[in-house]
Subunit: 343 residues, 2 copies
């Protein structure tokens, strides 16, 4: 069945189209000093183009021409970059895609403002759909973006709030609820729904995309959290162990809090009680050791594999009745890629 | 002619409608922990509601029903609040509308994210225009918002960049170019243009609104800069002298750099060369003294009065052919209010 052994060829092909669209969009601010350069910075670092590729491929799988989904795909990628810029400020992150984060390169004020600029460009890009697809479909896509972006900021708020209030009473279901909001809606659910909407000319059944998108996005996010701990720093692109420094409520941390022996748990609670900036490197390393020795990373890895398996089933439901196609096979290959990827 | 001696009655009347619209919009996030409270914070502090009132009154002056401009007015106010939240982080401001800035109350991460939430709600609110006004007019309004928001981030970038790079070669025209971008487009030009667009059902001539909006907005911003120096802190609501601490390139600073005697100018350059956080209080006070003794504040005040006078003329052009109305008189009263206001 599968002729593309890896999704990388597809990511490159779709990614090139998106890069081109981004470049055209960002050309509109090319002459604004202190704005053009920081806005173009993240979008010109090499990323996976996962979200726009998923949107474009879904449009193709539903029988639509790729060009019809391009503004939506570009808008997703612009919004993604806007979220990354603000996320990196919020998390005080050091590295993004292997280079210094935007606020380290330009200072927080100009970086924050450039993030606003990217988000506003995304909204402008979406308006291209009015002429391309007609006002009805364009409006439905805007409704999708609206709902998605509200989910994203709600999820982001939850994650930041949990850290700020040092919540240690969380369960795996809380984590799944969190990543549905902060990651899945914009990474997978929206690209799938909008791709299907455009590809089918508004006739596709969108509900099954929520379940498939949740499984696919959860596999992606759990893998991302694992890569932050044990990934190859050269490939992963963010500073290793940044999540531990911040005290992010990942599946591994929730697992460790649940299973650690009393003495280790007390030590961990004291660690989490400290200001993130004042957690010594050796303590960060000790959290990782505990996660390894208590099997927290293995637990999360198996969880991700299980979710990816569910994704195969929910994908069948979401794409039921569609012919086999290169685009559909590409999406099928994304499922295992989510949990196998090194970057 | 003028029956309302003050625009405050109009501001209260229009403001009440906008507050109601804001409340309904913010109710959609009421159950999101760590998001609902910081998002509702600035919008529930008492502000002037200047921008939405200008939009609503312009719609009425052009013969349209107030309700037709309400989503646009609410969207302007939401976007304004989003800008304030991010602006306060970028400028490290302490007070807003007489209370601690949002990032001091909730921490920078949650405040930054709430600002994103407010901006995204503004975009959602604009979509209400599709049903209310039809897709054509709704799209024209979105184009206006698009262009305006790009101008705003470009202006914001310019101001932040000038401070960061410690630019001391600026002239009054640079300042006017800056405030056209960072202030006038979203404070006056867009509210006027969108109000006219909606009120006239899309037939109004919008070009003259740019000149009127520029004069009106420039008067507003120069007055704002003056209030930061010599306003009554209880009424003004922001920390006194914050602009001097930051080294903002106001008309007063540009004037002072141009006219100061060599010794004072050298001292001022050394002051500006320091990290804003490391400028001692007594030095900040000395900049104010210099501005007073070199007549920089008087210069700016006269400049604002001159611009307000031009606004009266450009308003006549922008509202030519319209009947006298309470709404039109309200806007006429806003012109002197811009330079007379204490808050």
């Amino acid at each position: 069945m599968t002729t593309d052994p890896e999704p990388s060829a597809g990511l490159l092909r779709y990614g090139a189209l998106v890069t081109d669209g981004l470049r055209r969009r960002l050309a509109t601010v090319a002459h604004d000093p202190y704005l053009a350069a920081p806005m173009a910075d993240y979008p010109t670092r090499v990323g996976k183009a996962l979200r726009p590729s998923l949107c474009l491929a879904t449009c193709e799988a539903f029988g639509g021409p790729l060009a019809d989904a391009l503004p939506s795909a570009v808008a997703i990628e612009l919004l993604h970059n806007a979220f990354l810029v603000h996320d990196d400020i919020e998390d005080a992150s050091l590295l993004r895609r292997g280079e210094p984060t935007l606020h380290r390169r330009y200072g927080t004020p100009l970086a924050l403002n450039a993030g606003d600029g990217l988000a506003l460009q995304a909204m402008g890009t979406l308006r291209e759909n009015i002429e391309l697809l007609g006002p009805r479909l364009a409006d439905r896509i805007m409704v999708e973006f609206d709902f998605m972006s509200q989910q994203t900021v709600a999820g982001q708020a939850l994650e930041l709030g949990w850290c700020r209030d040092n919540r240690t009473d969380l369960e795996p279901d809380d984590y799944l609820d969190l990543i549905m909001k902060k990651t899945c809606w914009y990474t997978t659910v929206l690209p799938l729904r909008v791709g299907a909407l455009v590809g089918s000319g508004g006739t596709a059944e969108l509900d099954p995309m929520i379940e498939f998108g949740f499984h696919l996005g959860a596999a992606f996010q759990i893998r991302d959290d694992i890569l932050n701990l044990v990934g190859d720093p050269g490939l992963y692109g963010k500073e290793a162990l940044g999540d531990l420094q911040e005290g992010k409520r990942t599946l591994m941390l929730i697992h460790l809090l649940a299973v650690a022996e009393p003495a280790d748990r007390r030590w961990l609670l004291a660690y989490l009680d400290r200001d993130p900036a004042r957690r010594p490197r050796e303590d960060v390393a000790r959290v990782l050791e505990l996660m390894v020795s208590y099997g927290s990373i293995g637990f999360a890895g198996e969880f991700a594999t299980g979710v990816a398996r569910s994704a195969m089933t929910s994908m069948d439901a979401a794409f039921a009745g569609l012919d086999d196609s290169r685009a559909r096979r590409f999406i099928g290959r994304l499922v295992p890629f989510m949990v196998e990827r090194a970057s």
